[in-house]
Assembly symmetry: C2
Homo-oligomer: 117 residues x 2
Amino acid sequence: MARAATTTDAFNAVAEPRRRQILDLLRARERPVNELVELLGLAQPQVSKHLRVLREVDLVHVRDEGRQRMYRLNPGPLQPIHDWLRAYEQLWNERFDLMDDVLDDLGKAETDDGDDD
Amino acid sequence: MARAATTTDAFNAVAEPRRRQILDLLRARERPVNELVELLGLAQPQVSKHLRVLREVDLVHVRDEGRQRMYRLNPGPLQPIHDWLRAYEQLWNERFDLMDDVLDDLGKAETDDGDDD
DNA sequence: CAATCGTATACCCATAACGGAATGCGTCAA
DNA sequence: TTGACGCATTCCGTTATGGGTATACGATTG
């Protein structure tokens, strides 16, 4: 088996920096492929391919406008990532990092008061 | 070029579901590889390999305890992901999704009543 | 109608992931 | 010391990525 497809979910889709850039650019407003190509400094086919991935995980919506295709951000699928991170958020915000040192100490002290061994 | 290495950053490392599971398990407390193997139902080598990736992006710390290796969560590297998502968080919390429908309608109606074009 | 623009797709290549299986290596027990 | 345990590493095969380049396709223009 290989790595999970980039189109599996937002986690995989967003692991690619260029695709994050694209989403960042679309946060301001919808844009045609053309414009993304210039802003990213990538070749047009690569941009189209990244957009395809983003489309497949529903992170962007497309709208036909003449011969242009306007891409618009759809942030919804990012929410699961945020939800998953929520449980970790407190771990670095609080003083839980102090527990780091405590655990380290315990690890070194080990069987200080235990008669089990 | 291939996909960026899983050890490039936390984004890539946590794109893999199993690795997210491992982190979830380590959130409760530090655990030996052994225990993760049982809880995940994976073969031991695969778990060790996932742990290697997590180590390389510094999402876990290891501590030697006899012939066991205790793995402990280090949530810090997750923060950049959270930071990146912060800009999007408001987009799904607010009523911005209403704008979705409006824009969709505009896209379909297009030049229905507009002589702009 | 032909020519051109804006995009998407097809193809090629180099790279590496992930799982499986075998093995290496340090630690502890008898 | 020999053997068992806990874990890491190596090799294998399959799969798909992401960039490059060429091309196909619909829409607009002349």
